[in-house]
């Protein structure tokens, strides 16, 4: 009897140890982390240790962030911020692993789709409730960009930096392929028309180097979601028309097989190699061309972003973990890092644009000096005012990849554009994260 009992206990111990060691498995409600107001409750005092996680920023901006943290700790001597910077490669995978294991950092740098997914799982602080007064500190479009429609109008991240940019054209290729560099395209129709001419005259150069994305569809005038933001609707005639234009261009030799595969980096490489004549960019793109492709830089012309509607804008955000043990400190730090002074300092360091209200009126963004960089900066700052965050937060990376594949199939003529978009819409609708 004793023998059996001891064996049972030891075997049970092994099993328990194994299960404890796994630390994962079939997810439990709450995704492995405490959720709800109680778990994240704080005493309101700004003190204690917090972790701050950024996305590949240590390389170029270590000094800025060290100073930022130092300033915060000076303001709140009882607080201590530990900075963790993760490489760009696999960032979202690491984020999802941390989230599933309940190990999310207290303050995290992320994109709206990632924030939306975590917010639906109850893992982020609703700023509209926690710090409603913060809304006045940011541009309305930026605050709205982090206010998720399906989540009781909650706002789940402090808007941080914005990015949009002009279009870059290689005028030498325009001349080579029988086009007038003084008459650069300003609409999608002109871009495709000139792309056809380029395809006819040049075998080794194309006008466009990337497939349309969800942002392109928005810029083209496609309605991406219904009024209630309940379902995606980017499979209408307007979207089909855009895909057909790409398919026609591909058939005419004005769009390469490599561009079907290209994501952002591939397009930039092709532009730098003089194989693609136009591409959307940012203030950072100019610096990159200047340092890594001087020949191309010499013949680059910059014009406002091509868009039938508003140009696209990307937004980065700092979110606060709902289960943070020092939630008040985390909220204070995220708010501090995104305040006007710190955003302005970061904008000057990183060629990005601030989301804090009033900063775009600063002479830094309105007055040009003699440099190309300032010309692009001022041009782009004007664009920020009219730009829109087209990518819906409910459109995660998986849906973007699926859309890319479907569009590629349609452009290659292996699938009807309508069917391809229908499938992409269905896939995206099935993956809208819900709070249920």
């Amino acid at each position: 009897m004793m023998y059996r009992s001891r064996r049972f206990v030891l075997s049970g111990g092994f099993a328990a140890a194994a299960l404890t060691l796994t630390g994962c498995g079939v997810a439990t409600d709450g995704a492995g982390g405490d959720s709800g107001a109680g778990a994240g409750a704080s005493d309101g005092e700004v003190n204690g240790d917090i972790t701050f996680q950024t996305w590949n920023l240590k390389g170029g901006f270590e000094e800025y962030f060290t100073q930022l943290i130092s300033d915060f700790e000076e303001k709140y001597p009882e607080a201590n911020v530990e900075w963790r910077d993760l490489p760009a490669e696999g960032y979202v995978d690491k984020l999802s692993a941390d989230a599933a294991a309940g190990n999310l950092s207290d303050v995290v740098d992320m994109s709206p789709p990632a924030a939306y997914t975590l917010a639906t799982a109850g893992m982020l602080v609703n700023l509209a409730e926690a710090v409603p007064e913060a809304e006045a500190d940011y541009l309305p479009e930026a605050w709205e960009g982090m206010t998720f429609p399906r989540l009781e109008e909650g706002t789940y991240g402090f808007p941080w930096y914005l990015n949009t940019g002009p279009y870059f054209f290689n005028t030498e290729l325009f001349e080579k392929c029988g086009l007038d560099p003084a008459n650069l395209p300003t609409t999608y129709d002109e871009l495709f028309d000139q792309g056809d001419v380029m395809a006819e005259n040049c075998d080794d150069v194309t006008m466009i180097g990337h497939l349309p994305t969800i942002e392109t569809l928005g810029e083209y005038g496609v309605q991406l979601m219904d009024e209630d933001a309940a379902e995606f609707t980017f499979n209408g005639p307007k979207a089909v028309e855009l895909i057909r234009r790409f398919a026609d261009l591909y058939e005419a030799g004005g769009f390469t097989d490599e561009s079907l595969n290209n994501l952002l980096t591939g397009e930039v490489d092709a532009f730098k190699a003089g194989q693609v004549a136009s591409m959307p960019g940012s203030a950072y793109t100019l610096t990159e061309l200047k340092t890594t492709a001087k020949d191309v830089y010499e013949s680059v012309e910059i014009s406002p972003a091509i868009a039938n509607t508003a140009p696209s804008m990307a937004i980065h955000t700092l979110v606060v973990n709902e289960s943070s043990k020092n939630q008040a400190t985390a909220l204070a730090f995220a708010h501090f890092a995104t305040n006007p002074a710190n955003q302005m300092a970061f904008a000057k360091e990183a060629s990005i644009f601030p989301s804090a209200s009033g900063l775009l009126d600063d002479p830094y963004f309105t007055e040009e000096d003699s440099t190309d960089e300032s010309r692009v900066r001022v041009e782009t700052a004007k664009q920020v005012a009219e730009a829109k965050v087209w990518a819906p937060p409910m459109f995660p990376e998986a849906s973007k990849t699926f859309l890319h594949d479907q569009v590629a199939q349609a452009v290659m003529g292996k699938k009807d554009p309508q069917d391809a978009l229908d499938d992409a819409v269905q896939y995206a609708n099935e993956r809208i994260a819900t709070t249920e």
Binding site: Y3, R6, R7, L10, F14, A15, A17, A18, L19, L21, T22, G25, V26, A27, T28, D29, A31, V92, D93, L95, S96, A99, A100, P113, A114, T117, L118, T120, A121, M123, T256, D257, E258, L260, N261, L263, G266, A273, P396, E397, A398, S399, T401, H404, D405, Q406, A408, Q409, M412, K414, R431, A433
Partner: protein, 315 residues
Amino acid sequence: MSSLTAPRKGTVEGIPRRRLHDWRKPRWFVPLLFSGGALAIVLVMTIFPFFNTLILSFTDATMLRPGHFTGIDNFVQLWGDARFTRALFNSTLYVFCVVPFMVVLPLILASVSAGDGKFMGFFRTSFYLPVVMGAVAGGLIWTNLLDSRGLVNGVLSWLNVISEPVPFLTDRWLILISAMVVTAWMGMGYYMVIYLAALANIDTTLYDAASVDGAGPVRRFISVTMPGVRNTMALIAMFSSVAAFRVFSEVYILTDSSGGPGGNAMTMTMLIQREGTGLQAQTGYAGAISLVMFAILAVLLALQLTVQNRQEKDA
């Protein structure tokens, strides 16, 4: 008068019988002490994830939500998913094309480099180098070689063999063929080493006898070497078919993670990775794909084992 005294009754050389009895008695926990660590690792890293995947495949679980039981919905959905059928086809094709090469080529290499010639050590090391290099480094080298602006297209263009670059990395079939070449290049050295060990066990008098009978090198290879390593060939066929069906790194790196234009060259493991990672991961659906993959591999292995056993009985 000797100072030595006989052991007392009930003891062996002074050790009390009861203690001796305690140590010699088989204890149920002793095997566990020896195997416990390994068992725990297998339990945590293999058994538990397997059953977890099994359970997940019948749910609509995502990365952050446990999901609900959905019966066989995921499996029904799979058959309507064009990506799945394409990936299944690509992985199956990979097995049929790669395995014969992986079984025969390393054997030829091993036979050629089995001697004690002056440069044999160098050749053996060279063939094994890709194994040490790993899939990522090897894949990147081949990506640079096969790119439209890479060395292969450059040389072919320079020789006026082609007027336009060969789309090694953008055409579905050429991507798969390129990946198969990379797999063969990386795997040959590993299997060659296994064959070298098997070749050492073949009685050299058999070769002498074959030579006396007038057999040339090819005949000796077919009539002596191949029968001599038949079991090893079956083993390598098994290993390489499992590895080929699970191919990931080669296609992933050659296509810069896209699976080719429109995902046409995607394999089963790439599809699992795509559906099963990220914040919006559909872990239930990815689990269903994994389970189907496991079932196919299990059937494949069972078939190979059956054929092997039958051959051994016939022999």
